[in-house]
Amino acid sequence: MTRLLAFAALCAVAAASSGCTAVRPWERDALARRDMAWDPDPLEAALHSHIYFSKEASLAGSGAGGGGCGCN
């Protein structure tokens, strides 16, 4: 599992650094879906984050942006 994730991270870095344009602006149908968001339900994400943060040692924080429909 960690290997797969390491590879995925590597792909991300490789794609980003070489300017790979995988998806054009009009091809974002699936990416624009609400269930493709990092947090489709932000209140739930915040609630879970706080609950786990209160009983576990880890940091709260749900990460960065990106993805989505890319519309202006």
Partner: protein
Amino acid sequence: MAKASRRFRRAARRRALRGLPRGRVLKALTSSTLALPGLASHADELGSLGIEADYKYARYSEDRIPSSKVTPGGERDRYTIDVNQVHLSGPITERFKLDLDVGYEVMSGATPWYVVPNPSGGQPLQVMTGATIDEKRTDGSLKGTMLFDRGSAALSGGVSVENDYLAFTGGLDGERYFNEKNTTLSGGLGFSIDRIEPTDAEAFGRNSEEDKQTVSGFLGLSQVLGRETIVQATLQYQFDNGFLSDPYKRALVEGVPVPDARPDMRHQISLLTRFRHHFETLRATLHADYRFYVDDWGINAHTFEVAWYQTLWESLRLIPSFRYYTQSAADFYAPYYEGPRGDNHYSSDYRLSPYGAISWRIKAETRFQIWSLDWIANVGYEQYMSGGNYAIRGVSVENPGLVGFDMLSAGLTLRF
């Protein structure tokens, strides 16, 4: 020994009846980290046009502590919390939007106080505080985001209030798009200033108020890998300084309960990786997250989370999910101490003990239109279990205070 513990229990009950809040727990439960950057990212591209209003109610109930784990006659009912969250977001101008979050919680119950050896030689026992009644916490935060063609920048601030706790938070974060928005770089800085004024300060002979300051930062990269796939990696760092102990907890040192005493500084780092993939033919989306955490108190932790978003009949979505968590212990942690420590750090808090946790969740969501407005209603249930046996590495003595809970939640979203 029994007399001393009875006296402590009575004192705790007195404090409890006077409404002594398990402030730390509540504060931690719905922490003021709400306004720290990178958290509660309503960076939902879909909502960037209109106005959205969300409400969620959740009832969180901790399992009773098993009688085998608690001292005889000890309080067994643990925490129950009713949480209300409201979120409003809307555009102020074409390039500026505002997000408002308000939370209100009511909680009651007993919490772990300190751990004692088992007189019959088995696993250690938990001494619980007396039950508290209806403590309340209110928090609010505001975030303003400027939208540009190639990115965005946001400023946020928040406040959190309880009868014994006050916290102010602020943050600055931004995003920059590259490669036709296939790549997004984001980063942010945040701070938090907390003040705790524990009721009954004289009972543990400290200052009547204690402060804590936190600074944090994050750096994230997200990449579109295909029409249906995105990945993200976020590095987060946090530095805490000040009073980091729990004023309502004790640790047993050579048979005597002493105040919980943790270092006054802490460095924490976490790396979060997230993956999203949509299966068009199955009408489903997979979410998979992994987070690695490490700090300078000796704790390292791993979190794995998977969720499956299954769309049925256009307007219904069913979302089962599973989470696995494992952590190691803090260097200075022990259920109780046979002798003093050179660094004078003591804590028997289960949150610093080695353990693992498993939780499964099921959620159902439906969308509909009334008065030509878009509505989404959802309801969810979660069950969480923790124990030494769930940890990735064997745990010889698990903390008796490890908790399980279940939670029922219901929410409503309106978009117009």
